[in-house]
Amino acid sequence: MTAATSTVDAPRRVALLGNPNCGKTALFNLLTGSRQKVANYAGVTVERKEGRVLSPAGHSYRVLDLPGAYSLNADSADEAVTRDVLLGRLEDEDRPELLVCVTDATNLRLNLRLVLEVRQLGIPMVLALNMSDLAARRGIKVDTEKLSKLLGVPVVNTVGVQRNGAEALLATLDQMDLAALAERAPAWETPSLEDVTRTHRRVRRILAEVLDAPDTDSRYDEKIDRVIMHPVFGLLILAVVLLLMFQAVFSWAAVPMGVIEAGTGWLGEWVSGLMSDGPLRSLLVDGIIAGVGSVLIFLPQIVILFAFILALEDSGYLPRAAFLLDRFMGKVGLSGRSFIPLLSSFACAIPGIMATRVISNSRDRLTTIMIAPLMTCSARLPVYALLIGAFIPQQTVAGLFNLQGLVLFGLYVFGIVSAMFVAWVMQRLGGSLAHHPLMMELPTWRLPNLRNLLLGLYERVKIFMRRVGGIILAMMIVLWALSTYPAAPIGATGPAIDYSYAGMIGHFIQPLFAPLGFSWEICVALVPGMAAREVAVGALATVYAVSGGADEAAELGSLVAQQWSLATALALMVWYVFAPQCLPTLAVIKRETQTWRYPLLAAGYLFGMAWFAAMVTYQLAVALGAG
């Protein structure tokens, strides 16, 4: 679009730009509310957020939230996108007509340097002094008029977390003259060390004229940090925080999970009642409703875990946790930056893998992606619950711990330790265990904002639901077909699935799993269980022809307890620590790495480790008399 064709009615393209942690996303949320479109930039896996806003004067804007950047001299995939959008180097992405440089008014030192750098690009811009309420409360006074004169751009105060905090910004945008920008070419080259130092000096000179700030703006933070980042207390607090978080995930989610389970059960019965017996009813009830329901049931756990993660991130705690764990992660060649993606993976590896985008070092990012599936995600829990309930006695160990709980805890730890081992091997093979970058901002402490929290959660839920509706639904249908056809012959004695393609595959692969102590029934259940781990429980119920209903799990538990040895059960648990039985995860690895190589590699090494570890477990257990 050229200036000549842009009319008052055409939405103006505005881009928000700023340092990470300057409150830019809060301001974006305030401007656009839920009128946001989240997608990826063409060809790269950087999140692209755009929203629409109508100013009180009636102008409409398309607002683009550029990834946070410290500099145009990009150091990560995110920063590269910001640079390329501004320079018009990105295909399918028009250069913005207007720039809003968002700065943290409490930290202009760092923020203004980027503003000066970007100003050279010649795009009309407005400087937003965000978090101006916080700045005022801390006694920081900025002479906006003078600052505007020195920079040659309009300067406005904004408050990203207040309902009318962007009014002044919109009013200023309305007055901006777009005709001036026309087709000026962007001029930018990588700055030299001297350039950067010079820019900093200019920032200092400008601030000397416009800023009146007390020297003690960090007094509260220092007190908190002295405890939170303490080598001993800090780690203790981190352990307690994580423990509380997982406790909440499991106890708070129980009720909504029951509701979803009952809801899908009711829906299945209702549909069953409406239709006559036949393949279509079977597809709808056993395939789609039961299948999608079995994945949907994890939504409450995912929501709760993400509510914690988002709140902890918003408050500034997570970067500090990453700080505390950096040395530990460094032992295996990763950095503290991998901590947040791995933490998310305990809910589900999919958002965890997507969260690796913040890792600037591409090798570290790849390693984190490859080990994310080893974090015990919530989909493994139904399998663990079935096996632990059936085989591990309810008894107290050392007068304090529940043996069943200890086994579950052990499986979590086993996953983490294995992940660390794999990371170590991968980083070794990559030839570098030392000198991985950390350089991470530890932002000031802030109270999490409820509105941003809810918007963030809504986005996560939407991503999850889209997966359930797309890839998972498709796979459920395929697996239903595999487990249903061909139908059992008339007069058949075994369960119907035994005669299906899934049954044939199960029988065919059974010799491979004999050293693991897996019966053919288990092998058959593993086939539909490829779609998602928890499906294996339902598949086992089908294989053993357990009647459906509320007691299904308990009934199945007592049945497998009679049929399998303890060695087999242990081997199956260990199998599930590793086995990448989750096609959506592999699909997301493909999407994030842009090649089939890594999902195939992940599937290969995870299946290999699963087989080997389960085999060792089974053989050891048999040797010890648990066969």
Partner: protein
């Protein structure tokens, strides 16, 4: 603190500091220091000028006063360093490019 900024350009050229500079990584928790210079990385590190440029960009510029706020468990890294109102976590190999003059706490 800002008042001196205008004088900086002149100052930098004339002041010759004869005392040996301390690498940032050698500072203990609570110590303040003034940045003297950013050293280019030795060839073995392999992350080249980009790291030094980024250190400058986030505020580690000559004359800036910095302070070590915390050190990670284990006592050597990472370092939490406050520079120009922002706190950054740096690994030892990143911090060692920053050469500083330790400030006397009483002055």
């Amino acid at each position: 603190m800002w008042a001196a900024a205008a004088e900086l350009d002149k100052e930098l050229d004339v002041s010759v500091n004869l005392a040996p500079a301390t690498p940032l990584a050698k500072l203990t928790v609570g110590q303040s220091a003034r940045v003297r210079e950013i050293r280019m990385p030795s060839a073995t590190h392999g992350h080249g000028e980009q790291l030094v440029l980024r250190l400058l960009e986030i505020g580690f510029v000559p004359e800036e006063v910095i302070r070590v706020m915390a050190v990670g468990p284990g006592g050597s890294e990472p370092l939490a360093v406050r520079v120009g109102g922002t706190m950054f976590a740096l690994r030892r190999h990143e911090a060692e490019h920053v050469l500083v003059d330790v400030l006397d706490p009483n002055s």
